[in-house]
Structures are given as C-alpha cells and as structure tokens.
Point group: C2
Chain length 268, copies 2
Amino acid sequence: MNADAPLGVFDSGLGGLTVVRALREALPGERIVYLGDTARVPYGTRSAEVVTRYALLSARHLAARGIKLLVVACNTVSAQSLPALAAALPIPVVGVIEPGAAAAAARSKGGNIAVLATPGTVASGAYQAALRRLLPLSSVVARACPLFVPLAEEGWIDGEVPRLVAERYLSDLRRGGIDTALLGCTHYPLLARVISEVLGPQVTIVDSAEATAASVALLLEKHGLARTTGPSPRHKTICTDMPDRFRAIAERFLGRPVEAVELVDLTP
Amino acid sequence: MNADAPLGVFDSGLGGLTVVRALREALPGERIVYLGDTARVPYGTRSAEVVTRYALLSARHLAARGIKLLVVACNTVSAQSLPALAAALPIPVVGVIEPGAAAAAARSKGGNIAVLATPGTVASGAYQAALRRLLPLSSVVARACPLFVPLAEEGWIDGEVPRLVAERYLSDLRRGGIDTALLGCTHYPLLARVISEVLGPQVTIVDSAEATAASVALLLEKHGLARTTGPSPRHKTICTDMPDRFRAIAERFLGRPVEAVELVDLTP
C-alpha cells in the first residue's frame, strides 16, 4: 500500500458526504473515492444481516479500486458490520461510532449524553456501549428520529416543519437535563441548528464527522500513509442508482458542488 | 391454473396492504399471498432499471408459489415495470395505475385532477398519460410528496406535523381549482383525512386500491378463476427484511393485525 493511493469513503447514500467534507478540511492532500449505495439506501431500518450483506458489496468494490484505507461513514454499518468489513478487507477500516463517542465523552461536562440516530443504530446499542466504556458513570439516552433523514434530503432544514418534528422527538430530553447531544447519523448535521434550538443553549452538539476525520489523520500518520506531496488531489464520486438526484442533493451535504457522479451496478 | 390458487400481491414494502384490505373486502373468498420487499424499500426514489430488477425478483418468487394472478400494489412498479413483469410471468398481471386513473376520470366532474405520488411515479408520467387517454380534455397536475411515506410509517397521520407538511406540498393546488385528487401511492390513504382538510371539501379524494380490487374481481370472473366455494381462506404474508417491524406497522395499513410474517431472502 502506498501513500499516493486514495482514501475510500462508503455510505448507504449521500449523508456520508458530511464526513467527506470534514476529511477534505482535515486532510487537504488526500484523494477521496466516495461510494454511496443509493440503490439500497436507507440502511437505518434494515436488519444487521442485510446491512452487512449490502456493506460488503460496496466495501469490496472500493477495495478493488486500490484504496489505502476505508472510512465507513454510515452509522448503521459502523454499528453493526465493522468486524465483518475488517475481516474481509486487507486495509484498515475506520467507522464513525468510536470517534463520535470519544468526542462526545471528551466534551460532556456532566456525563448526561443523548445519542440521536436512526432506529437501526439506536437498536444496535453501539453508541451507548461505546459511551459507557469511555465514561462508566455517564447517563446515556438514545433517541431514534426517523423523519430527520427525509427532511434533510428534501432540504427542509429550517422553519416550522423541522422545528415541530424536532420538538416531538426531543422535547422530553430538554426536560431530562442532558448536557451533550451526539448526532449519530450523517444526515443530522444539516438539522443541527434546529436541534440546538429545541434542546437549548446549555446542550453541546457533537458531530461524529469531524472526530472521524481526526482519527483518520492520526491513523494515516501512524502507518506512514499520509499523502503530503504532489499535485492537488482529484476526487471521485460513485453511486449505485440515480446519479442525477445524487448530484442535485449532494451540494447541501458536501458544502460545494459535486462535478461528476459515476454510476456502478453492484448486483452480485 | 385453477380457481383454488391464491392471488399474489406485491409491493416494495407494507403500503400495498391497503390494496390487500380492499381485495379482502371485495373478494372475501380469495386466499392472498402478500410479498413486501422490505430489504429494498423504498422504490419511489430509484431508477426504472433498478425498480424493474428488484420487482422481477419478487414477482418470480410469488409465481413459484403457484399464484393465479399477480396484483402489483406498488405504484412505482406499476408505472415503470408492468410490461417487463407481464412478459416474465405466465399469469395475468394487474397494476394500480390504470384502475386508479379510470376511477379518478369517472368521478371527476370538471376534469381538473391532481395526482399525488412519489417522485418516481410522478417522473414516470404514467398516471398523467393514463388520465389524458381517458379524458383527453382534462387538466392534470402531478405532485411529488416524499415526506408522506415516512409520516405514514411513523404513524404521524393527524395533528400539526402532517397538516403543515400537506400544506407545504398542496396549498397551491387548492388555489388551482382542482376537483379530484388521486392518491397515487399506497401509503397516502393513511393521510387521506389531512389531505382532504388541506385541499378542501370541494375536492374528491380517489384511492387506487378500491378501483384495483374491482378490476381484479372482473378479471377473475372473466377467466373463470374466482374462488367462490370451500373453507375460509388462509392468507400468507412474506417480507424480505425486518419481519417484526413489518408486523408492528402492518395493522395501520391492513386495518387488522397480521398474524405471522415469513422472512425470505431474495438475493439473486
């Protein structure tokens, strides 16, 4: 493996572009190949068996493109399938759960932490277990907020509808005295302002994406795989269905336009 | 093929249970095998190629169980893949588009019809084409309402959130003078009351499910395939992932509990 090889980033859809955004800021010299499995999105309401089966298809496709490290930007896959991916690939595999939990544990003052995520991630218990390992005396509550993903994809990220939806999911947490909310789904950063307004200014919002980018930087350094010289990197974006819809929505997640999107068929 | 064979009903998820509900009312003697492709749901935001690929897997599975007729309860599949399914199966295949469009055309007084559906169904133009064929002088507008599906699955079918979402999607239609709204997605009947409140009492709400059940009854009669004697039918419900979640939500769509749900793996 050489430092010039690209980083692979995988997500069920386009939410993982929030992780790409953080990676591009933290590691401007790295080339990134992104794969969004839009033919099978969403993963958050599927079983662990099906999520692992789908994730292996995408991970093997990225590995075949010569990536030096795989970032699993999907919280559901990170929660349920990381051991299976690590066993199947000859390269390091980094998920978003451990870095996100570590960042929340570091920033929480009182150890009262709420994890907001998809039903699949909440049911897996992965964030809760990671936080209890890091902060054994913490009090962790996890809350599934399934409508946040379609709201983010519709671009309804401020105004009355998202505010009311957030109220319905989160108002009892405000009364519960939490001090930190961990956004455990790549779509949720788009709704961070609304979430913060509903939870109140005393609650710190922590996003897994930045923590994950920092972990990746450390790991590349440790393995001598960081790309620090050479021309500006050219990135690559791939999806498994509806590339035009992907492009149209991608800018909101990446913070800049996506030039071209390649379509691949991962049917086994 | 004999009259004792079951009817097959296929949908991307559990929305098609609104069609099963109408079929059980119209045809109480028929046994129904329902397949919801919950490992690949939703279809409404996927391309025609991918939708057809997924639909063929499910249709062939039902055909192998000896059904006498296939009802495609999924609007997206009915709009995009009916010819491919009819070509692949040796039995009659009935979709929801033609019956739904015919019912709307029959009930519209002024020919000003709105079709409410998923982005995929709207983009296919199938309802619009069917309505213009039936009522050449009609004025048809189609509107994608992607948040209606997650709202119905969350069970948020009345109150402030669905009302505001419906206002945002539909308020300009109220000003446009439509007289009929065709619910072109199997999930939307659960939101019929909110939709009707937003559109006003002068707008007739037409649901494809009942019209489809009537079409199926006619077709069975014509082919001598109606089951009119014998003991009460035993129904069968199958899905491709998350049978417990399926059962928990199914009752809202079917109007009664689902006893047991069989899990099948349709990976090719």
